[in-house]
């Protein structure tokens, strides 16, 4: 009957073989292949970053410029939400029913079982009233986050701001940053990112297949603690910083004040400024977009990025070089008829016979044109190109046309013309001292930053050297002792030549162009400047240091379209010096208020036309909501147009001069 009896073995063989095949495969994935354990671990472990508190930044007296404040996000896990009084909830949060529905749908769309942000960044006060009621609304819960806050809303451009890291930052950081992290984007926040950032900690959390947190892993044995960022003590003096911002309200320009004996920056005003609190929190994107569109470019760091012709404030420098060369003595005098050789440059009035000190005090163009001619023709009129190169080198030692190396990103160089430029403009061998005479009075092609102006005053105050200007005094409790900040940078002028120039500068304030800005009881040495520019009124410039002996502060003030240096820049500088040295302002407040309340903002239509051009060139960038992050640190429209203007100078003025010859 059972002729197929042997087939039982075949069937048993098939069973056994197939089971062995399964075992073989199991052996492979369980014993040989190590990947699966890893995958399984990766599945359940979520490294949760513990963000450290970013370091606060203080002023030189320990007052807080920026710190962190707790804000509260209301999170929602849609699945866990139970029916509740929606209207009451909306009232507590201050939103409408429609907004509520909209956000709730969004949360569901993101994930029904994962928490997502429902309401962002409630302040501590708003949250306090909500907190006790929140437990009634199952599924909603708060999380804390820390945001930068600026108690005095001051020094925006100096402090800079932070923003989310870009792809490029992530790539360059070797894994230090991950998407969603914050990084300093400008100012001190960027320059001192490494110390402010702190150390990110990691907390390993176990999650289930829906990504829901199920508790810590191995009781936190592998977790690392976040260590907060260092506290930075900046060199800024909050008192004069705030005073400077107050005085510069309604004006475009800069104030830079430096302590000559250390190179520490005491004030760093860029005007128009903005409230740094605007670049934090819920409205950040909108505010940033608005600022980006603002014709007056509040985001521009004018003290280091705006270029101005120094005007007459440049005269002491030429005098110093001529003294060092032995071409003039303090007693050398020229006669001013009201214009140099009957042509250009002109003076406001005939100054008659002046020696060096008086020439500085009254800012005599004729005198300095004569000095400059002497400087340029020292090797004969035909060899002006080599002489010019030599002069240029000497000026450059004051860091004109060079970066000073301040500890802020995106510092501008300014512009110092080269012999090559003149060769190109006039043709090789076709230019003479008269062709470039504007340089005698700090006009023409020369453009420098307010920081460079202030630094020149430091050099004069120190009789021949400066310390690299810097912003930060101490990191944590350790004072900064970087070699480059304690090293004297000599400019190649012997100390003895400074006295006559300083005498002149003292006279500027006591009896010269800035005599209305005298500070009772303080000897301030300064120099006014009135920088011509083609679109509107002259820029008002004043540079100074005080007191004369053992100077404590060197300052440069630029007020765009402020007219003569004595009109706005000099009084502003004098108030700041007075405040810094005596902590009060004793002079009549009428004048103070006149300056403070003056509105010198230029006509925005000009700015708008520039903005339009810019927009046409790059409409995509403008369309970005949060364009702030992408704003390149470069010269503003206003300074750019000034640059164009210098070329206009080149083409028109020298020609006119030649006719005069």
């Amino acid at each position: 009957m059972n002729s197929f009896f042997v087939r039982r073995y075949i069937i048993a063989g098939i069973f056994t073989t197939i089971i062995l095949l399964l075992v073989a495969k199991l052996f492979y994935i369980q014993i040989i292949d190590d990947h699966y354990r890893l995958y399984a671990t990766k599945n359940v472990l979520r490294p949760i970053k513990q963000y450290p508190a970013r370091g606060p930044i203080l002023d030189r007296n320990g007052k807080i410029l920026v710190q962190n404040e707790a804000f509260y996000d209301i999170m929602v896990t849609p699945k866990e939400v139970k029916p509740f009084d929606t209207l009451e909830f909306c009232k507590l949060l201050g939103i409408t029913k429609d907004e509520f529905d909209d956000r709730f749908q969004k949360a569901i769309k993101y994930s029904p079982s994962l928490p997502s942000i429902f309401e962002k960044q409630l302040s501590a006060e708003t949250f306090a009233s909500l907190q006790e009621r929140l437990s009634e609304f199952t599924g909603f819960f708060p999380t804390t986050r820390y945001l930068r806050t600026y108690p005095d809303s001051t020094a925006a451009q100096f402090l800079g701001y932070i923003g989310e890291v870009t792809d490029r930052d992530i790539k360059r950081s070797n894994g230090r940053y991950q998407p969603g992290d914050y990084i300093g984007v400008s100012g001190v926040e960027k320059a001192y990112e490494d110390v402010l950032r702190g150390q990110v900690g990691v907390k390993y959390t176990v999650v289930n297949s829906h990504g829901k947190m199920m508790g810590s892993y191995e009781n936190g044995a592998f977790d690392t603690v976040a260590s907060p960022g260092e506290r930075l003590k900046s060199s800024l003096d909050l008192r004069i910083q705030k005073l400077g911002e107050e005085l510069m309200k309604g004006k475009v320009g800069s104030i830079v004040a430096i302590e000559p004996s250390t190179g520490e920056i005491l004030a760093f005003v860029s005007s128009p400024t903005y409230d740094p609190n605007l670049l934090v929190g819920r409205e950040r994107g909108n505010n940033a977009a608005r600022m980006y569109k603002d014709p007056y470019s509040p985001l521009l760091i004018r003290p280091i990025q705006a270029y101005y012709p120094p005007g007459s404030s440049f005269k002491p420098l030429n005098a110093l070089i001529a003294l060092q060369e032995g071409l003039i003595t303090p007693q050398t005098s020229y006669y001013c008829t009201g214009a140099y050789k009957g042509g250009l440059p002109r003076c406001d009035e005939p100054h008659g016979q002046s020696d060096l000190a008086r020439a500085i005090a009254v800012s005599c163009n004729t005198y300095f044109a004569s000095v400059f001619e002497k400087l340029m023709n020292v090797n004969g009129a035909r060899n002006i190109d080599t002489t010019f190169v030599d002069w240029r080198k000497k000026v450059s030692r004051f860091s004109v046309g060079q970066r000073l190396g301040i500890d802020l990103p995106n510092e501008g160089k300014g512009f110092m013309p080269t012999a090559a430029l003149y060769n190109k403009t006039f043709g090789v061998g076709h230019w003479r001292s008269n062709s470039i005479l504007s340089l005698a009075i700090g006009q023409g092609e020369l453009e420098i930053t307010p920081l460079q102006m202030a630094n020149i005053e430091c050099t004069i105050a120190n009789h021949g050297f400066y310390y690299t200007p810097h912003l930060i005094k101490a990191i944590g409790d350790t004072k900064i002792t970087k070699a480059e900040y304690t090293q004297r940078n000599y400019v190649g002028i012997d100390g003895q030549y400074f006295e006559p120039v300083i005498n002149g500068m003292q006279q500027v304030v006591e009896s010269g162009t800035a005599r209305s800005s005298q500070i009772p009881g303080i000897i301030m040495c300064g120099k006014t400047g009135t920088a011509q520019n083609p679109h509107g009124k002259n820029h008002s410039i004043f540079v100074a240091f005080a007191p004369r002996d053992n100077p404590k502060i060197a300052i440069a003030v630029v007020v765009e379209n402020g007219g003569q240096g004595a009109w706005y820049a000099a009084p502003i500088a004098s108030y700041i010096v007075e405040k810094y040295l005596t902590d009060t302002i004793k002079r009549p407040m009428d004048e103070f208020n006149r300056i403070k309340n003056a509105n010198l903002m230029p006509d925005p239509t000009f700015y708008y036309s520039q903005i339009k051009k810019e927009a046409a060139r790059d409409s995509i960038r403008k369309a970005k909501a949060d364009s702030l992050r992408k704003l390149p640190a470069k010269k503003s429209v206003s300074t750019k147009s000034k640059k164009n203007n210098t070329l206009a100078y080149l083409t028109t003025e020298p020609g006119r001069r030649r006719n005069n010859e």
């Binding site: 048993a12 197939i18 075992v23 495969k25 369980q30 014993i31 354990r37 399984a40 671990t41 359940v44």
Partner: protein, 424 residues
């Protein structure tokens, strides 16, 4: 033997029963781990799958005892009736059935209970097949008998395919082993093996000419070698024609008949596509779970994949993941060993029968259980397309546990009567 009460437990195959109880116990512990709900820490809580499974096990064991108390002839006599009732239920389910997960496979019985007729169909088909092949004039080698036997198998397959439940349908194909044991030409088995190989190759190789080409070459060589032997030449030629026809059929089936989700499952197993977040998610997570077990496993209730529910359907179709993850290679091999031991034991039982009925039925039981194990475990380790069929005795679920118990214990009952009179 004269005393039926005494023979009831005397002749029972205790080895099979012990394996059965082992598998049920292993099943319960793994369901406990896979479905553990911290809100109901008690192992007997009726809110949880493990609580319910405990009830199912008790029900199943009671059923087993009842079966052992029945008369064997009663079972044999009822075979056609059971088959007829099953057929009716299979038809009814298409009309009144509840749709669960895309398959209309369940009939609701009220009170939260529901019946899956396709589970019952495995039992009744084995039973009727046994009854038919037990007939004195039936020889599977004859065309008529073969066609009737094939019809008994294919009819419920067709009905289940309409649900459509591809997994349960395929289970019936395992019964070809029964027919083979009863005398079916081995060519059918070879052909089936060949077809499976060709199926995989056809889908894996873009241009099926690359499959047909070598096939023709091999056939020609064989025909040249045996050119004297006309029988070999004609057989090979016939086989070749069938293979080529099959390849085109597979192509047509794959491209025009199969539903996208079925295609996707096949694609994933064959490595044509990898879609780890979508359709490939289950299998990938399942492989991760098993692979992370290493040799000794992560320990009972300590598998992270299991604890945090990364594998969907883990207490039912993917229960083997828990075994692999928490008990490791050792545990997985033990479970597979138990199954192999069980089916080999059933073959041994089959071959000691005097009656064809019990033998055929036994092979049916072995084939069905074996097919379930291979497909289920193969699916969890990604060598078989994911077809939702349970792991016998271990997977969570009353329907599956009860029907496998029925399948096995009817055999044990029939076997305990092997010395007695056969009533069929």
């Amino acid at each position: 033997m004269n005393n039926p009460q005494r023979s009831l437990f005397f002749n029972v195959d205790w080895i099979a029963v012990i394996i059965y109880l082992c598998l049920c116990t292993i099943g319960w512990f793994n369901i406990h781990s896979a479905a553990f709900d911290p809100r109901y820490p008690s192992a007997f809580d009726m809110h949880t799958d493990y609580g319910k499974q405990l009830v199912f096990i008790i029900v199943a064991v009671s059923l087993a005892i009842i079966i052992l108390l029945l008369e064997s002839r009663f079972i044999v006599a009822l075979a056609p009736a059971i088959y007829a009732i099953t057929t009716l239920l299979l038809m009814a389910v298409l009309v009144v059935g509840r749709n669960v997960g895309g398959n209309q496979a369940w009939i609701s019985l009220g009170g939260g209970f529901r019946l899956q007729p396709s589970e019952l169909a495995k039992f009744s088909t084995c039973l009727l097949l046994a009854r038919y092949l037990n007939g004195t004039n039936v020889k599977i080698t004859e065309l008529k008998s073969f066609l009737i036997a094939a019809g008994i198998i294919l009819f419920p397959m067709a009905l289940i395919m309409l649900q459509p439940d591809a997994g349960s349908t395929l289970v019936f194909s395992a019964l070809i082993l029964v027919l083979y044991r009863e005398g079916l030409s081995p060519y059918f088995l070879i052909l089936e093996g060949l077809f499976i190989t060709l199926f995989v190759l056809t889908l894996k190789v873009d241009n099926h000419l690359y499959v047909i080409g070598p096939l023709v070459a091999i056939a020609l060589i064989v025909m040249l070698l045996f050119k004297r032997n006309k029988k070999v030449v004609s057989t090979v030629f016939l086989g070749l024609c069938m293979c080529i026809a099959f390849i085109f059929c597979v192509n047509f089936l794959y491209n025009h008949i199969l539903k996208p989700h079925q295609k996707a499952r096949i694609d994933i197993v064959l490595g044509i596509t990898t879609d780890l977040r979508g359709r490939g998610y289950n299998v990938n997570q399942s492989k991760i779970a098993i692979g992370s077990g290493k040799l000794w496993g992560q320990g009972y209730m300590h598998g992270t994949q299991t604890t945090y529910k990364f594998v969907p359907e883990q207490s039912t179709d993917f229960i083997f993941c828990t075994v692999g993850e928490e008990w490791g290679f050792a545990g997985a091999v033990t479970v597979l060993g138990l199954y192999l031991f069980l089916v080999l034991r059933i073959i041994r039982i089959a071959e000691r029968q005097r009656s064809t009925f019990t033998r055929v039925y036994a092979y049916g039981v072995a084939s069905v259980i074996f097919f379930h194990v291979v497909i289920n475990v193969g699916m969890t380790i990604g060598i078989v397309p994911s077809i939702g069929i349970p792991l016998p005795f271990i997977s969570y679920g009353g329907s599956s546990l009860v029907s496998f118990t029925l399948l096995l214990f009817v055999l044990i009952k029939l076997d305990s009567n092997r010395m007695g009179i056969i009533y069929a």
